[in-house]
């Protein structure tokens, strides 16, 4: 399966295998933790990691946009990794020339520099309330709203008979919160320990799975 559709707080959310969510009523695409420029940042500091991998990030977003045709894109923080480098340019051009409205919730990896380069067609904010949802970078507890956030890069461990184990990246949904997986390639993950009341949508190269 490439998509799973869920009703959350009365809203229709489509969980896509490319690590993004499409919110139907709002016509918005939600993604988090892209870490653009991470690989080049490593290279600049003498750590030679092939950069081909990071190019897929923008391609993935373009494909998602082509498929869902959203009016808005919400990025829940860590769009950029560390300081400016040339890899940022493609993204800046794409954002500036796009017909879609972008919002960036500032994360820990979005230094002051990103405010300077992100000039047009993007709203920068520390959080955003829309409909029943409160969008943040870090997970927060909210009485009034359902929190959608990033930062954690969640993954879960699965266990089977015969000592079988798997670790998968996931969308992590708990009582009043949804944590998105990291959209960017070349990002790590953190293993969550779910409660029985939580549910997760796992990601693999073969699609999305509900658990």
């Amino acid at each position: 399966m490439n998509q799973i559709e869920k009703i959350v707080e009365g809203q229709q959310l489509i969980f896509d295998y490319r690590k993004a969510i499409f919110w139907k009523e709002d016509s918005s695409l939600i993604l988090s933790d892209i870490h653009v420029g991470k690989i080049i940042h490593f290279q600049k500091n003498g750590i030679p990691i092939p950069s081909t991998g990071s190019l897929d990030n923008l391609m993935n977003l373009k494909n998602l946009v082509a498929e869902y045709d959203p009016l808005r894109v919400y990025i829940l923080g860590d769009l950029f990794h560390s300081y400016y480098n040339k890899e940022w340019d493609e993204w800046l051009t794409y954002i500036e020339t796009s017909k879609i409205k972008f919002t960036l919730i500032l994360g820990n990896h979005d230094p002051i520099e990103s405010r300077l380069v992100l000039k047009s067609n993007i709203i920068l904010s520390s959080d955003l309330i829309r409909g029943p949802f409160l969008f943040t970078h870090y997970p927060v507890k909210s009485e009034s709203h359902f929190n959608i956030c990033g930062h954690i890069h969640p993954a879960v461990r699965l266990k089977g008979l015969g000592r079988q184990y798997l670790k998968l990246h996931c969308f992590y949904v708990s009582e009043n919160q949804l944590i998105l997986p990291a959209f960017g390639k070349f990002t790590g993950s953190h293993i969550m320990k779910p409660k029985k009341t939580d549910y997760v949508i796992c990601l693999s190269s073969k699609g999305v799975f509900e658990l």
Partner: protein
């Protein structure tokens, strides 16, 4: 009088004051050094190895031109920091009496900043150091000038270095020194290993034409007599079927400790060390204050104190790990106890040699089996000690990670020209066959980054100046490189500290991550309560509790050598022959009876496979008795071949006796037999496929990524600042696999897996042997005694041919 006599008389005056005589191998070495030769001295610990090389090196200097006497002339390499002090003391002893114008100092990771700063200005005449600190010297500006008077490098305990990447690191550094000082002499000191001649060649390097430089191999005729005793418990039935702590035997141990002046107790793991310390103290409280512990995670001051206390006869016993394996000369030690299987004959004999530290004394070692099956091992070790056979240690080759680290070191200090560097590199054993392609790749890699960096090339590491000099210009890169050198690759370590800030040692992150505030654990013989984790520090306070978790370390596991496996098989087959039933195995009879009842004891012409079901799933256990590494390879190979027949997922476990394939489906062994899966053809191809399907190479890549500088673990003083440069080696492994599979560092992970881990040749031999054996398949109702230690092992590999989707469907979330 000839030139030898003058020296010999001088050196012997030191000996005669102590009522020692210079042994033939010592005199032979003296002569060779006076003749300006290089070489390797093979002598057991405690036979006066230091004095076999030291006097003539000093003599040559004493008789040389005055102007050359002011600077460093001898570098003395030791593999372990804990050895440095002892060597310094014995050299100082000689200097005080014979030539006090020379100085000797230590420089290693334990050296204080103050001493380092002083040494940066003026080095001593003799410098005792480790391979890592040696490379750091080469990283400093003007190193050629500082080291230009060095005429001899002595490598102590070379056998400990040769089979590791540190050996390669040392080869490169020595070759660099030799390049700028062609008259440099190299002397190694080594315990007995199976390939001494090769060890000598690797040590002294090659000439411009790629031929080995000449050198002498001097063997002492001293045969250490070793007395092996097996400690068997009064009630053998209490020996568990598995379990490696062995603490139920503590009462049997106490009388041995009481009888002997000083005892070293070797355990195989640090956690075992901790537990034994507690148990001995609680069963024998009068030892309080006379008992100490020594292992790699304990703070260095405490370790040094323990070493001193042993020398000064202040301790009754020390419980230690391989941290005390090497040649520290502990004269008062009378007895050695080995708890649990030592895995190799060489290691066992080496440990035995820690006692009876005079050439003429008998070494006494007690072996204490921790589980029943180890009695078979004990019996085999007794035989090995009699035959005095030892295994070879295979030198590493083509370790490109180490080469990259070395070249960047040269670039950090004074820079290098490629033809010079190539000449240095080619004269080492490790890289004598490096191809033009590989060399060019490495140069491109450090100067321009990997081949697929083209998109936005902002890569910066080594700069090529107009004159063609490879040089690191960025201070940040230089600093990070120095920090990274010689990082002993291990799990992320955190500092263990008291609230007052006093450091207790280091602890692995994964262990601490399982604990909550207020949890109590055992470390350094004390119970501690976890107070707080602050970045890289774990703050604790003393706990009054007498119970707590035992800190465990994931450290590498050892495998039986082929020789040890052979001895082991002999013992097992002997069980079947009534008249040869080994006496040492008598206590095992009851267990052997259970094994026979449930299954069989295989004969020489039989190959045993057992199948049974438990709550964990379907177990199939194979018994080739070939040692852990061969079993690791064979389990991958078999799992892969079976997975081609049907979609199936396996969890793999192995020990020195056999291996297990665990699955959620029943495995029909007849299928294996009918499809000829033990066939010894296409082994290499199949093994390659299975390695791709599993995660061994991925784990090997961890060391490689750290050594070559792909993974940066942060500055010791300010770990946080470099957080945006940290990433996991696993992530990088995936990127290479997907985008740059011809990257030499990525390929090295596979090469190393094949060459040093899986022992393909031994595997093929073992497969041929199985082909000529009769396969006996036993479907049994419950685990047999033979299978028990294997199926309870928690360190496992996995291999699967099932679709991911199908696997996920059968699985469940791991909940809190």
């Amino acid at each position: 009088m000839d030139k030898y006599n003058l020296h010999h008389n001088w050196a012997k005056s030191f000996f005669s004051k102590r009522n020692w005589t210079a042994l033939p191998f010592q005199q032979e070495t003296w002569k060779a050094i006076l003749n300006e030769e290089s070489g390797l001295v093979n002598a057991p610990t405690g036979s006066g190895k230091t004095l076999s090389v030291l006097p003539p090196i000093l003599w040559r200097k004493l008789n040389s031109h005055q102007s050359k006497k002011s600077s460093l002339f001898c570098i003395w390499i030791t593999p372990l920091r804990s050895l440095s002090k002892q060597i310094q003391l014995s050299i100082q002893d000689f200097l005080n009496e014979m030539c006090n114008e020379f100085s000797v100092e230590v420089r290693n990771g334990d050296t204080s900043l103050k001493d380092r700063a002083r040494q940066a200005k003026k080095l001593p005449h003799i410098l005792i150091t480790t391979p890592e600190s040696f490379q750091l010297l080469i990283c400093s500006k003007g190193w050629k000038k500082k080291l230009e008077q060095v005429d001899t490098v002595v490598v102590d305990e070379w056998h400990e270095l040769i089979g590791s990447k540190r050996g390669v690191q040392l080869e490169l550094c020595m070759s660099a020194l030799r390049f700028y000082n062609p008259n440099l002499k190299t002397w190694g000191i080594s315990a007995t290993i199976g390939n001494l001649e090769e060890a000598k060649k690797v040590l002294i390097g090659k000439n411009d034409l790629g031929a080995d430089l000449t050198g002498k191999l001097i063997k002492s005729s001293i045969k250490k007599q070793i007395d092996v005793k097996v400690v068997s418990t009064k009630n053998i039935k209490e020996l568990p079927w598995r379990g490696h702590l062995g603490i139920h035997l503590v009462e049997d141990l106490i009388p041995i400790l009481k009888r002997s002046k000083t005892t070293l107790i070797f355990t195989n793991t640090r956690s075992q060390c901790e537990v034994w310390y507690q148990k001995i103290l609680s069963s024998c409280p009068e030892f309080s204050g006379l008992l100490a512990m020594h292992h790699g995670s304990i703070e260095k001051e405490i370790r040094l104190w323990v070493e001193d206390a042993v020398r000064n006869e202040k301790l009754k016993a020390v419980i230690c790990t391989s941290s005390l394996d090497l040649g520290v000369d502990f004269y008062p030690v009378e007895t050695i106890i080995q708890i649990g299987g030592p895995k190799g004959v060489a290691r066992f004999l080496q440990r035995a040699g820690r006692s009876g530290h005079r050439p003429d004394q008998i070494s006494k070692i007690y072996f204490l089996p921790t589980h029943a099956i180890e009695l078979i091992e004990a019996s085999a070790l007794k035989k090995a000690a009699k035959k005095s056979y030892t295994e070879p240690r295979i030198p590493y080759v083509f370790s490109f990670d180490v080469l990259i680290q070395f070249l960047v070191s040269l670039a950090v200090s004074d820079g290098f020209k490629t033809h010079e560097a190539l000449s240095i590199v080619k004269k080492t054993h490790a890289f004598s066959n490096i191809s033009d392609y590989e060399w060019e790749w490495i140069l491109t890699y450090i100067s321009k980054g990997a081949s697929s960096l083209s998109a936005y090339n902002e890569y910066k590491k080594v700069h090529i100046t107009e004159g063609g000099l490879f040089k690191v210009l960025s201070r940040g890169i230089a600093m990070r490189h120095r920090v990274q050198i010689g990082t002993i690759v291990s799990d992320n370590h955190l500092n263990l500290k008291l609230l007052s800030g006093k450091r207790l040692g280091v602890i692995e992150e994964w262990f601490i991550s399982k604990l909550k505030k207020g949890d109590v654990f055992l470390f350094g013989g004390q119970y501690w309560e976890l107070f707080q984790i602050q970045q890289m520090d774990v703050l604790v306070k003393k706990s009054k509790s007498k119970k707590g978790k035992v800190v465990s370390w994931m450290g590498g596991r050892m495998s039986f050598s082929s020789y040890m496996s052979e001895l082991l098989r002999d013992e097992i087959y002997a069980i079947q022959r009534k008249n040869t039933y080994p006496k040492t195995l008598k206590p095992l009879t009851f267990l052997i009876e259970i094994q026979k009842e449930l299954s069989i004891i295989p004969k020489e012409n039989e190959f045993l496979i057992e199948s049974f079901k438990t709550s964990e799933g379907y177990h199939t256990v194979f018994y080739p008795f070939e040692g852990r590494f061969v079993h690791e390879a064979m389990s991958h190979l078999m799992a892969y071949r079976i997975s081609l027949l049907t979609p199936i997922s396996f969890s793999l476990a192995y020990n020195d006796y056999g291996f297990e394939l665990l699955s959620d489906q029943f495995l029909d062994v007849n299928q294996i037999i009918e499809n000829n899966l033990f066939e010894a053809i296409h082994v290499k191809d199949d093994l390659e496929q299975s390695i791709n399907a599993s995660e061994i190479a991925r784990r090997k890549f961890r060391d490689i990524a750290v050594i070559s500088g792909l993974v940066f673990s942060g500055m010791p003083s300010n770990r946080k600042r470099n957080k945006d440069l940290q990433s996991g080696s696993q992530l990088i492994f995936d990127v290479f696999r997907d985008y740059e599979p011809d990257n030499l560092l990525y390929k090295q992970a596979f090469f190393e897996t094949f060459e040093y881990q899986l022992e393909e040749e031994r595997l093929i031999k073992a497969m041929f042997k199985i082909k000529n054996q009769r396969i006996v398949w036993k479907n049994i109702a419950k685990p047999s005694p033979f299978s028990f230690p294997i199926i309870t092992d928690r360190l496992r590999e996995k291999l699967s041919s099932e679709e991911l989707v199908d696997r996920i469907k059968k699985m469940q979330l791991v909940y809190q």
